[in-house]
């Protein structure tokens, strides 16, 4: 679905469209640092421009079928930026950024810019060292987009790590009581995961280099790792896949690597929580798809059952834990774990489909189901990113309206704060997957795919059941209870409601028109499932 005017605009940008999108926030961040009070205006402007650019990018991406013989695997706007060369061996090793997007990356970039834009709007309660805050904010935006654009391991790792620095400061400096500890915990946990992942990156570089004679970190291209990795011994690939699982699993997060998440999400300031839940978790999901299914398909196919079981356990575990929370933000944080485990289930099921022989007609049903589940995973990431942003903004808003986020202490919100309640109710419904909202489509796609392949994966519906239970129970306690005359509760001002209302638009739109996202990711999903069959 290439739209010509979008393509023309993007191609007219200096440094190439992708590099321009990365550099713009960096430069704007520097300006914002010295702008003081004006920083907010600059940030809104730049994040707005980035949002428009990413919309254009989605429109400009070619979503026609990707051929298995394509050496760049359907990547477009590919650009190479060489950082340094190591003159060893027969071929020099190059440290470089390779930027490129396909439908999946473009959709993730759109999501990250959408969430960052909404988070920027909802930063209106930040009034301490604004220049520094917005500078970090835009550095964060660069890092996030870079992760989704990088088509080489070193660039990927740089952006992956770059995200940690601004997030650490945002959580620790602008968060609430106890946020410093949460910030350190967040940093060390995710850094630990990426350390293991980095060793896997080096191993890919070394083993493939020893086998083919070309030492490279590039994923795409004729010598790219995507073309050469599948030839390695299965046991090596499984080792690499487990290391990738460490890195991505911490971010997603998967039980037992999830411990940082409730801390970081609860203690962070509202915009910080929005970005954490809205995109940082999706970095994990995206890595599972890009460095897992896309790069190491056969290893993931072998690990499929393990991942599916882990996903289902995480879902139910997180649902039960969420039920026990009294802090609304904490409840929403566990809801995130609960929902992101669906992504892993979709990935695991898709991995099973990859392992099947597409030429055998008996497998057609299973392969189609795997395709469905993978699209569901991608859709789940987008939908969860939008829904959870609204939930976190509303949870943060309660602190200003009711003075607390403790569920037992808030009563009769419907009577005293109707506007706030209305949006909270809508978002909650979307969160547990009521038909008509995007969450439903995502869960339906994944479950329809997964039951065909693993019948027992239907147990995950038990997770939905509990989720519906605790969310309705939460609403019952704070929204529909009798007002407590002794407690002061004020309604949210329209100013504070701009961001959540804006974010509800995609939630409802995608609920009735899911093809808005699925049309762009279909080609990638088909390519991943069928492109590397034996």
């Amino acid at each position: 679905m290439q739209v010509d005017f979008a393509l023309n605009i993007l191609n007219s940008l200096p440094f190439g469209p992708l590099a321009f999108m990365l550099i713009l926030p960096l430069v704007a961040g520097l300006v914002a640092y010295f702008a003081g009070k004006g920083a907010r205006v600059i940030t809104l402007l730049v994040t707005g421009i980035e949002l428009v650019l990413s919309l254009l990018l989605v429109l400009a991406v070619d979503t026609s079928e990707i051929l298995a013989t394509d050496s760049v695997a359907g990547m477009q706007f590919v650009d190479y930026f060489v950082m340094g060369t190591i003159p060893v061996g027969a071929t020099d090793t190059v440290f470089q950024f390779i930027l490129g997007v396909d439908g999946l990356s473009a959709i993730m970039i759109l999501l990250s810019n959408l969430v960052v834009f909404v988070a920027a709007i909802s930063s209106n309660h930040i009034n301490k060292s604004e220049g520094f805050y917005y500078a970090l904010f835009m550095l964060l935006q660069t890092g996030l987009m870079g992760v989704f654009m990088s088509m080489d391991l070193i660039g990927f790792f740089i952006f992956w790590e770059l995200v940690l620095i601004p997030m650490f400061f945002i959580i620790g400096r602008w968060g609430e009581e106890g946020s410093q500890h949460a910030a350190v915990k967040f940093f060390i946990y995710t850094h630990l995961g990426s350390a293991v992942m980095l060793v896997a990156f080096f191993m890919m570089y070394l083993i493939v280099g020893d086998a083919t004679g070309t030492y490279t970190f590039a994923l795409i291209g004729a010598d790219g790792l995507r073309n050469t990795l599948p030839n390695l011994a299965p046991i090596v690939q499984i080792g690499l896949a487990l290391a990738i699982f460490m890195g991505a699993g911490v971010k997603l997060p998967v039980w037992p690597l999830h411990n940082w998440l409730p801390w970081a999400h609860v203690k962070a300031p509202t915009p910080g929580s929005v970005i954490l839940a809205g995109i940082l978790l999706k970095m994990g999901g995206y890595t599972f798809i890009r460095l897992g299914l896309w790069l190491l398909p056969s290893a993931f196919a072998r690990l499929s059952i393990v991942f599916a079981a882990l996903a289902i356990f995480t879902c139910i575990y997180a649902a039960f834990t969420a039920m026990a929370q009294t802090d609304l933000k904490s409840l929403v944080a566990y809801t995130s774990i609960n929902h992101m485990s669906w992504v892993l289930l979709g990935v695991a099921v898709a991995a099973f489909g990859i392992g099947l022989d597409p030429l055998n007609p008996a497998n057609t049903g299973a392969i189609n189901a795997a395709n469905l589940a993978l699209q569901g995973s991608i859709f789940m990431m987008f939908s969860h990113g939008t829904i959870i942003s609204v939930m976190f903004i509303m949870a943060g808003q309660l602190k200003y309206s009711a003075g607390t986020r403790e569920i037992p202490d808030i009563k009769g919100l419907m009577n005293k704060a109707p506007r706030l309640s209305a949006i909270l109710i809508l978002a909650s419904f979307a969160a547990f997957g009521l038909p008509g909202f995007s969450g439903f489509i995502a869960e339906a796609l994944i479950i329809f795919g997964s039951v065909v392949i693993y019948l027992w994966s239907a147990i995950i519906t038990f997770g939905i059941f509990i989720t519906v239970g605790y969310i309705l129970w939460m609403l019952n306690r704070i929204v529909f209870s009798d007002p407590d005359p002794e407690k002061e509760v004020s309604d949210a001002s329209w100013n504070d409601l701009i961001a959540p209302i804006l974010m509800m638009i995609p939630v409802i739109l995608l609920g009735v028109w899911p093809d808005l996202v699925l049309d762009f990711t279909q080609a990638v999903a088909t390519f991943i499932i069928g492109g590397v069959a034996p």
């Binding site: 340094g84 060369t85 770059l162 620095i165 946020s179 350390a195 060793v199 080096f202 030492y215």
Partner: protein, 510 residues
């Protein structure tokens, strides 16, 4: 293809100064030419001592150092021959790489000395003599020359540490001196053993004799074992200066009690000479024994990383924390040396390992020199030893200092946007390429562990409120030194090839 971007600048300087070069070539004896930078430093050291009786000699020191730097550029060893003093000292690419590190660190240290101590003659004298010794250490290809240069470099630093403020400086210096003497004894013993077995102290001759001994291992095992004992002694004695296991104990005491400028020199400059000398001995003299000494180096690397990181986490004093962190950093560097396999076996791993270690030596010199100068400046301004509590709210009291410190800490932790990222990346990559992925993993886990204390600095500076909000006024020239380093730290992330190419070009060809 290699770029060596700075070559053009060097050509311009050579072009401008060519008349002076030609004049000097006529009056200076040919064997002295390559040692001229060190000789210049010695000349200016004596001059500074004399002038220092009445006037402030710091300007003279600056002139001496800049002249030495210019002489480095003017006399191209590729054209004029690299040997000096009959081949005792050689300016090969590796020596050049380390000499530039020493000169850059020296310049920064002199900038920092404007704040404290730099106005005295003896201080300048000793600093410059030590620089000259350091230059000869990294140039030495003969064990006797190496020993002499080593003493020339070390002896002044004992006194420099003792000159630091407060009674504690004497304690630190005593510890440093006693352990330094012990290390020297071990080195002499090692040299004697090598001489006894091989009949020579020239490293190239030693290398060929050792190769013969290894070839006849079955018939003359005793000679081989003697050589291995000498290697152990060398690792212990040079490792003392570098501050690695087992000789690290003096580091925190001497670093924390000395004048901060001297600490910056010890961490940034003299430490690198130990690295340079050890690398030269191991990869030129005893490269055939690589499979034997690599085990030792791996153990040293792992223990050093763990000791440095664990003890750094326990510190309250920032200077001591940085001292322990610099011990840990040398552990990372030793990963690179451990990856330097015999080039006949695996030349990729050899080049990558030595190159990574050289690159790390350079970046570590930048980061640690700046960090020590910064803490020293704060320490002088607040008139106390800096602990974490003193850093609270620094982002309000001195925003520039807080920002610079934050960048330096992130760089030491190896985060992107700083050159620390590349230097750790290449080190761990070299370990993986040498077939030691577990060593890379241990290094990475240590690197994660080290976040515990680096992030604590960021937490105090940026997230805590200060007990009093008064601004701290910082001196211009030392801060300029820190700013230069931090700009370099960021610029080298964006353009790592500026130094990376030189580091790999400096890998010695055995």
């Amino acid at each position: 293809m290699m770029l060596l971007q700075l070559g053009q600048i060097a050509d311009i300087i050579r072009g401008i100064l060519s008349p002076i070069t030609n004049f000097l070539l006529t009056i200076v004896p040919p064997g002295w030419i390559m040692s001229l930078p060190a000789l210049t430093l010695i000349f200016f050291a004596i001059l500074a001592l004399a002038v220092g009786l009445k006037y402030n000699p710091l300007g003279l020191s600056f002139i001496g150092l800049i002249l030495a730097g210019l002489e480095m550029v003017m006399f191209d060893p590729a054209v004029l021959g690299a040997e000096s003093f009959g081949g005792q000292f050689v300016r090969d690419p590796m020596a050049d790489f380390f000499i530039y590190i020493i000169l850059i660190v020296g310049f920064l240290v002199l900038m920092s000395s404007t704040l404290y101590g730099g106005d005295k003659g003896p201080y300048n004298f000793m600093l410059l003599i030590s620089f000259a010794g350091a230059i000869w250490v990294v140039m030495a290809t003969n064990l006797v020359g190496l020993f002499l240069a080593w003493e020339l470099m070390s002896t002044p630093t004992y006194i420099l540490v003792a000159l630091g403020p407060g009674r504690k400086a004497i304690d630190g210096a005593t510890k440093y001196f006693v352990m330094g003497l012990l290390a020297t004894m071990l080195m002499v013993f090692g040299i004697a053993l090598v001489y006894g077995v091989t009949g020579s102290t020239d490293l190239v001759v030693v290398a060929s004799v050792v190769e013969g001994i290894w070839g006849m291992f079955a018939t003359t095992p005793n000679a081989a074992y003697t050589i291995l004992l000498a290697v152990v002694l060398f690792i212990a004695s040079f490792g003392f200066k570098v501050g690695v296991f087992p000789g690290w104990q003096w580091v925190p005491d001497a670093y924390a009690s000395a004048d901060g400028s001297v600490t910056a020199y010890l961490a940034g400059g003299s430490k690198k000479t130990g690295v340079g000398a050890l690398m030269r001995i191991l990869v030129i003299g005893f490269v055939v024994a690589q499979t034997q000494w690599v085990f030792l180096i791996v153990v040293v690397a792992i223990l050093t990383m763990i000791i440095g990181n664990v003890l750094a986490l326990a510190q309250k004093d920032i200077m001591r924390m940085l001292a322990y962190s610099s011990i840990a950093m040398m552990g990372y560097l030793f990963i690179g040396i451990a990856s330097a396999m015999d080039p006949a076996v695996n030349s990729v791993a050899y080049n990558l390992g030595v190159g990574a270690a050289l690159f790390h030596a350079f970046t570590h010199a930048l980061m640690k020199t700046a960090a020590f100068i910064l803490v020293w400046v704060l320490s002088v301004r607040l008139a106390k030893r800096i602990t974490y509590d003193d850093l609270a709210g620094l982002s309000k009291r001195a925003p520039l200092a807080a920002g610079l410190f934050a960048i330096l800490m992130l760089s030491l932790a190896g985060m992107p946007l700083t050159v620390g990222f590349w230097s750790k990346l290449v080190l761990f990559q070299s370990a993986v390429v040498a077939g030691m992925w577990w060593l890379a993993l241990i290094g990475l886990l240590n690197s994660v562990f080290s976040l515990g204390y680096y992030l604590r600095v960021l937490r105090y500076t940026y997230m805590m409120d200060a007990p009093d909000d008064s601004r701290i006024k910082l001196p211009a020239i030392p801060m300029a030194a820190v700013v230069i380093c931090v700009i370099a730290v960021i610029a080298l992330f964006l353009f790592p090839s500026i130094i990376l190419d030189y580091a790999f070009a400096a890998v010695p060809v055995p």
